[in-house]
Symmetry: C2
Subunit: 172 residues, 2 copies
Amino acid sequence: MAAKSIKGSLRERGVRLTRQRKVLLDLIDKTGLHLDAEQLYALAKQQDSKINRVTVYRTLNLLKDMGMVDELDLMHWSGGQHYYETRLKQEHAHVICLRCGKVEEFYGEPLQKIRRQVESHFGFQVLIARTEVGGYCPHCRRLRSQEIHTAAGKVRQDSAVRGRRRSVRGKG
Amino acid sequence: MAAKSIKGSLRERGVRLTRQRKVLLDLIDKTGLHLDAEQLYALAKQQDSKINRVTVYRTLNLLKDMGMVDELDLMHWSGGQHYYETRLKQEHAHVICLRCGKVEEFYGEPLQKIRRQVESHFGFQVLIARTEVGGYCPHCRRLRSQEIHTAAGKVRQDSAVRGRRRSVRGKG
DNA sequence: GTTAGTGCAAACCTTTTGCAGCTCT
DNA sequence: AGAGCTGCAAAAGGTTTGCACTAAC
């Protein structure tokens, strides 16, 4: 989608369009996916087995600095890593289920309102705004109420949310 | 402010109020400050020179899991670390200047609106919502336009924003 | 042919873990 | 007394850096 126009902008700005960058750009741009550096690396390797993880990070930083991708945390759902998406014209919030990890995108005027209000209240020049909402999706909501009924009482077992953090990563 | 009531809640829940936890609780609760683990550690050491960095992390996780503090990213202004504040009744967004790091807090109905809309649109049960806005404060806005005039042309010098990341930490 | 970009290895920063010993209640 | 906490050392997870080589323009 946006990948083509991004490539154009890069060229204009005198940034070299290497084989690796093309691969990554296309992957990030598969709209709807919010991939982290590691996932991007894994997918990129399928197309270019020689690509290095460092190149992934460097490319992400380049695109971020040029304002072509946005970096998300997704409420640190599965650890400390970041997720990336091509910057869309339309501002949106990310709604993430803290149990299953499902991500929804929320478009709505309150988002633009915040932007405008911050500009007028504080005289800030707003460059980026990020809203993330965490909770339980309809499906997990039901499952959770069952869980609570069955395993009632265990108050502060190490929280399920943090428990999910340790990500599984093959050694490369 | 809230430190006293938090201590009460902890006691009620059977969590031990150790010397270390009291120190940290009081530090986090100095309202208005958004400290990261390392800063908290440094300050705590002034009051209890034996305290360990690990205890800081464990305490922060405890308070987070119990819903007593909120974890912020502040747009990763100075690196990958997190910042903490005691959870206030009133939801608010954080507005951060990407040049000087100044943080403002924005209270406003658009925030509650997002929450409600996400609940009705997606059927999500919202637990946390986080909005962060990055840009330039009035002061830095002025300074920046000067900078641009003087050093015009240098398009993609490693971005000032990321350049500020490497944090200075004594090997303490 | 230049100069930007890549791969590799090694560092770095932030956070977590395992375990023995200490301390709140 | 005893479960809950702490400190220490060590590891893990994610990301960045230095440098020699390679490839895009």
